[in-house]
């Protein structure tokens, strides 16, 4: 299968439908101490996306790690206007679930295939959280 046309099935946990550019992290993400909500940037120095901004991107990642401040920090990105466009993640935890809810962006988890492996940074993707679908439109 060519990259465009990849279709992943999951479970929408925050409804909504958006189209945007993917930002893929192979590593889990820390909220508190891992991101700067004022700029929407990953600040954990050892992280593969250190210095990269996720604002307006479809954030594709394996899950949340670190402090319970995770949800509050992503909530702050919403309040400060730096939130990602959508969240697509594989490992469902309280941090990631609550974080997605209070960030209020379309969010999907529990996939039949690994979005981190199947989606590449820069892909144009459609996130349809009402139906639990992620589709790669263009690579």
């Amino acid at each position: 299968m060519t990259a465009a046309g990849v279709l992943l099935h999951g479970r929408g946990i925050v409804p909504g439908r958006v189209v945007g550019e993917a930002l893929v992290s192979r590593e889990t993400i820390s909220g508190w101490g891992g991101i700067d909500p004022a700029t929407g940037t990953i600040i954990e120095r050892r992280h593969e996306l250190f210095g990269v901004c996720f604002t307006g991107k479809v954030l594709v990642f394996p899950g949340a790690k670190g402090s319970s401040g995770w949800s509050g920090f992503f909530q702050s990105t919403r309040l400060l206007g730096t939130a990602p466009l959508a969240m697509v993640f594989t490992r469902l935890t309280t941090k990631a679930a609550l974080g997605a809810i209070v960030t209020r962006v379309p969010a999907i988890t529990d996939f039949d295939d690994d979005p981190v492996a199947r989606i590449t940074t820069g892909d144009l993707v459609e996130v349809d959280a009402d139906h639990g679908l992620v589709r790669v439109l263009r690579r």
Binding site: G33, I43, G66, S71, T93, T94, I101, V102
Partner: protein, 431 residues
């Protein structure tokens, strides 16, 4: 869809007021996202509502503390009247304590905001324990009790050492739990999700909390969000050892639960730790692994001139405060170096009585309470290089403050504060 009791439906439908209804609405959305079948009753909530984050400061300016609580702690945009907490709720650490006043560059207006937040929380019945370690100052859930706690190091301690049951909650879920006495019954609330997933065998005998911190950092890195079971010559770890082990494991990974067979309550035996399931092949933690963790924690930066020493993360136990006082007895800090020891205010009161605070003060150090430099995002002005005995702070603070870090023993750190130079090294492990 999560199933609700009649009482929960009444709360959702507004019988207890708009704030309780908003809290139930958030809990329902959250429970459905998790796939929880029901909510658990809880009467022990540890959350945070007073930290003046930039987003919160903006909301307070717009509509006061009730507005900030509505938006941040209940995920509701309406300006709600916030009733008293329905169940016992404590406040965790915040960024600034009253004792931070005058210490540059702690901004005075933030301390004022903090004090206002504290008044608001107290007026709604929140116990302002102001520590990341509520279990050190009287909030001790009973074995098997369902609680709703946030603060990763407190969560892992509550689950693993106390045998209480909590997931790693957040600001909004603890806010909602405090007004409803409910939290999604999911994850760690169910016994079958609390068994070990990985076996780690240490061939070294951890000697003190630095070693326990490194072992925890290794374990978290290996298991990420899962549940390590550690065996080997573990001796009799004390509160500080387990506090550091869990905090480090929750920093390098997302560990919320671990077992030390024969020492932690859910694991009387190795077999019990795995719930009778197959025991996996052990992952070895020996001299090479210990050294690799040490080098990883000491890999940021290279200047040996230390400006700042930070001790007590998670908040220092009384024994740790006493150890710092003994290490500083009759010594004076280097003029270019500050030393801060973070501890709960309740323990500081005892440390005052013991004369330890005065010993530390006389040497030029500060005992600070309620707060955490990682929460306040503040270190002494001009800090470029700091030293800490906490694997957690060595992990987080370089990212948060953009400074270099050294990690070592409490005594290495005190020596650095006295000489202004880092001379710590990894001693040979026991056995």
């Amino acid at each position: 869809m999560v199933g609700l009791t009649d009482e929960e439906k009444r709360m959702r439908d507004g019988a207890e007021g708009d704030a309780v209804a908003a809290a139930m609405d958030l809990l329902i959305r959250y429970a459905d996202a998790l796939g929880a079948e029901r909510l658990c009753e809880t009467r022990n909530v540890a959350g945070t509502t007073t930290q003046p984050s930039p987003a919160k400061e903006k909301l307070v300016a717009e509509g006061g503390w009730a507005k900030a609580f509505s938006v941040i702690s209940l995920d509701c945009d309406d300006d709600l009247e916030i009733p008293p907490m329905r169940v016992p709720t404590c406040q965790l650490q915040h960024g600034f304590g009253e004792d931070a006043r005058g210490i540059m560059p702690y901004p005075g207006h933030k301390i004022d905001l903090q004090a206002e937040a504290e008044s608001f929380a107290s007026s709604r019945g929140v116990n302002v324990l102001a520590t990341c370690t509520p279990y050190q100052v009287g909030n001790l859930p009973t074995y098997g009790e369902h609680v709703a706690w946030m603060e990763s190091s407190a969560v892992v301690y509550a689950n693993s050492v106390l045998g209480a049951r909590t997931n790693c909650e957040g600001g909004a879920s603890t806010g909602a739990a405090s007004l409803t006495g409910r939290i999604p019954c999911w994850g760690n609330h169910h016994r079958e999700n609390r068994y070990g997933t990985h076996l780690i065998e240490t061939t070294l005998a951890p000697d003190g909390f630095q070693d326990w911190g490194m072992l925890g950092y290794f374990a978290g890195d290996v298991v990420q969000e899962e549940r390590p079971v550690v065996i080997g010559e573990l001796g009799s770890p004390d509160l500080a050892d387990l506090k550091h082990f869990g905090a480090a494991a929750a920093s390098s990974g997302g560990v919320e639960m671990y077992h030390l067979p024969g020492r932690t309550p859910d694991a009387p035996t190795l077999e019990a730790a795995f719930g009778g399931r197959a025991i996996p092949e052990p992952i070895r933690y020996g001299e090479a692994e210990r050294r690799a963790v040490y080098e990883s924690l000491n890999s940021i930066g290279d200047s040996e001139d230390v400006d700042f020493v930070l001790l007590g993360c998670p908040h220092a136990s009384l024994e740790q405060v006493g150890r710092v006082a003994r290490a500083l007895e009759g010594r004076t800090l280097s003029s270019g170096c500050e030393l801060w020891l973070m501890t709960p205010r309740a323990l500081r009161t005892v440390a005052d009585r013991n004369g330890w605070t005065e010993t530390i003060r006389r040497a030029g150090g500060r005992v600070l309470t309620d707060s955490c430099p990682a929460m306040s995002r503040v270190a002494p002005e001009g800090t470029r290089v700091f030293a800490t005995d906490s694997a957690k702070q060595a992990h987080y603070l370089p990212a948060i403050l953009g400074i270099e870090a050294w990690f070592g023993t409490l005594e290495d750190c005190v020596d650095a504060a006295v000489t202004g130079r880092w001379r710590g090294s990894l001693g040979k492990a026991a056995r």
